[in-house]
């Protein structure tokens, strides 16, 4: 969903509402459209919180399955579809990390920093130090950075999706970046990225 759909008005609002109505009625075509429009955002949102591509794909898939199963409870007049999906993703990740915590969180972090075979196979480097630094943040900090920088949401959209004020989002963003900077201190990461 584009940014305009976060605070929809005009024709896009009507289209978004029509799609949401069809989604509530569990029309397969509507859900196919929703999946194609939002999979990338949901995947990106969960990817940095999890240790690998497969895990992120699994959680992202579950997000759509849960959304579909709860379609009749979706109030499309108040929440954009993407916000709803992100909310489900956030809860799923939280539950997933709790389960990991019971098994041993440190072990998971170690696994995360080791590049997985599929990652190498498709030549993707997700900057493992960034992944590790993200994991040191609070859940809200992770969310604000994911929305702002991975999903490229504006402050206003992020505020709407997180049900916070814009000032609160800016403050949270600054604290999150500062915490990441502290985590990354000692590496030459910031020098590498500086122009």
């Amino acid at each position: 969903m584009s940014d305009s759909e976060v605070a929809p008005d005009g024709p896009s609002a009507a289209a978004a509402e029509a799609l949401a109505r069809r989604a509530v009625a569990r029309e397969a075509d509507a859900w196919a459209e929703i999946f194609d429009s939002h999979y990338r955002a949901v995947f990106s949102f969960v990817r940095y919180k999890l240790r690998g591509v497969d895990e992120a794909e699994d959680i992202a898939s579950q997000v759509f399955e849960i959304a579909y199963s709860r379609a009749d409870r979706f109030d499309y007049r108040g929440v954009p579809i993407e916000g709803w999906l992100i909310g489900i993703a956030r809860n799923l990740v939280r539950d997933h990390i709790k389960k990991i915590g019971r098994r041993g969180y440190e072990e998971e972090i170690d696994d995360t920093t080791a590049p997985s075979v599929p990652d190498n196979a498709i030549a993707i480097d997700l900057h493992n130090d960034l992944v590790a630094a993200m994991k040191d943040l609070t859940e809200d900090q992770q969310t604000v950075l994911s929305l702002r920088f991975l999903l490229d949401k504006s402050v206003a959209d992020t505020a709407a999706l997180m049900a916070r004020s814009e000032d609160a989002v800016k403050n949270l963003q600054r604290r999150a970046l500062a915490a990441m900077q502290r985590s990354l201190t000692g590496s030459d990461y910031t020098r590498e990225l500086s122009p």
Binding site: D36, V53, I122, I124, D152, L177, A178
Partner: protein, 430 residues
């Protein structure tokens, strides 16, 4: 230096891509520290896009399966009528119990009623779940069933409803076909309630089967009711195959197996062994098998090892494929109505047409319906070294020339079915 001031400067820096000129030296130093991780996250989005792009097809297929199974479970399908019969039977049984329990007090009645409700719902749920798992849209399935209703030919297709082991299923048959009934060629349109059939074909979006293999079989031995999932493979698990399926992508198989105690289980099996079973001359249904754990490229899985043939369905070889009615479209195909529009099975025409494409051969012979991003298309395997077995990908070409000859009934083996698809034998010769 206030937090609000830094917040505003940070926003400006993120928007402009550079630190605002009015920032003090101290502010500049703090902003540089904050912008490093922000740039790193921005830079990672392309990698995330690649990962999202790479995983999307698998995730989409999974979601489509989920939606299809949900819709099938929610659909008031005709098979619920027969399931309702099962409920009625249970209701009758428990009605008797109910009557006798009146004497013993209201509390007992309540308990029995609750148990009746629980049991009937439990049976229904299990059957629906098994049906949804076996009849996955796009997959290729072989099953045995008894005709419970048969429709008149319409638009070249005869639709029959079968009571299979896992529930009821609608099967589309080529109306031009015949079955061999004790040496006598019998039109498909003559099939009636009570006839036993083994059919194989592709599952459509609405979980009907477009049959391309068909044989008469024993009209008995079909059980209704509880089908369990086999979660842990016991040692030396042996049984008789009642249904076997291979997924649309050819990556996984599923078998419904009855063990020696008469219990029926749905078991995920390796695609390779499911394909081997489907490729054998006799029907897969009725084969006696042993299940063993086997290491595959995708990890370990349950391998079906054929031990022999058990019942009448297996002893009658399934005939070569016949032109199947077009499978009812899969959800993907419904979303993307591509050309060519699926029509009747291959019709007589001139020369084969080379069509670039890729897909998975769900039929056990090289020439048959192949699900691709286009609608299911009768095809021949153009590359000679492409194995033409179920579940294997191949390079395809459309065979547009088809001549049909009837298979003469064999006096020795009751070879039921239909008309032979000549292109099945020599698809590249035309």
């Amino acid at each position: 230096m206030s937090g609000e001031r830094i917040d505003e400067l940070l926003e400006e820096a993120l928007a402009l891509g550079e630190i605002p000129a009015d920032a003090t030296a101290a502010e500049r130093a703090e902003l540089e520290g904050l912008l490093g991780p922000a740039r790193g996250l921005h830079a990672a989005t392309s990698a995330l896009d690649q990962q999202a792009h790479a995983t999307m097809p698998t995730a989409r297929a999974r979601f489509q399966r989920y939606v299809a199974s949900h819709q099938a479970a929610a659909r008031p399908a005709p098979r619920r009528a027969s399931i309702g019969g099962s409920r009625a039977g249970l209701s009758g049984l428990f009605g008797m119990l109910f009557a006798s329990s009146l004497v013993r007090g209201a509390a007992v009645v309540t308990v029995i009623g609750a148990i009746a409700l629980f049991l009937s719902q439990s049976l229904t749920t299990n059957v629906d779940t098994a049906s949804a798992q076996v009849l996955e849209p796009g997959s290729y399935v072989e099953l045995q069933g008894i005709v419970t209703a048969a429709g008149a030919p319409h638009d070249g297709v005869v639709t029959v409803r079968l009571q299979a082991e896992f529930g009821e299923v609608e099967v589309d048959l080529n109306a031009d076909g015949v079955v061999d009934d004790g040496g006598e060629a019998r039109p498909v349109s003559s099939l009636r309630k009570g006839d036993g059939l083994v059919v194989a074909g592709q599952v459509g979006a609405d979980r009907s089967v477009a049959a391309n293999r068909l044989a008469l079989a024993a009209a008995s031995g079909i059980k209704k009711g509880n089908v369990k999932s086999l979660k842990v493979l016991p040692d030396n698990f042996e049984g008789t195959v009642k249904t076997v399926a291979i997924s649309a992508d050819g990556a996984s198989g599923l078998a419904l197996i009855e063990d020696q105690a008469g219990q029926r289980f749905l078991v995920p099996v390796t695609a390779e062994t499911a394909a081997t079973l489907l490729n054998q001359n006799a029907s897969a249904v009725g084969s006696k098998v042993t299940l063993k754990t086997q290491d595959t490229k995708a990890g370990s899985g349950n391998a079906l090892e054929v031990k022999g043939e058990a019942n009448a369905a297996a002893s009658h070889p399934l005939p070569p494929e016949v032109p199947a009615p077009p499978a009812r479209p899969t959800p993907t195909q419904q979303r993307r109505p591509a050309t060519p529009t699926p029509g009747r099975p291959a019709t007589p025409a001139a020369t084969p047409t080379q069509v670039p494409g890729a897909g998975v051969t769900p039929a056990p012979r090289p020439t048959q319906v192949v699900p691709t991003p286009r609608p299911a298309t009768p095809t021949g395997i153009a590359r000679q070294n492409t194995p033409g077995s179920a579940g294997t990908p191949g390079v395809l070409r459309t065979v547009t020339t088809v001549s049909r000859t009837q298979v003469p009934p064999s006096p020795r083996t009751i070879t039921p079915v239909v008309k032979r698809h000549e292109a099945a034998r020599t698809p590249t010769a035309r």
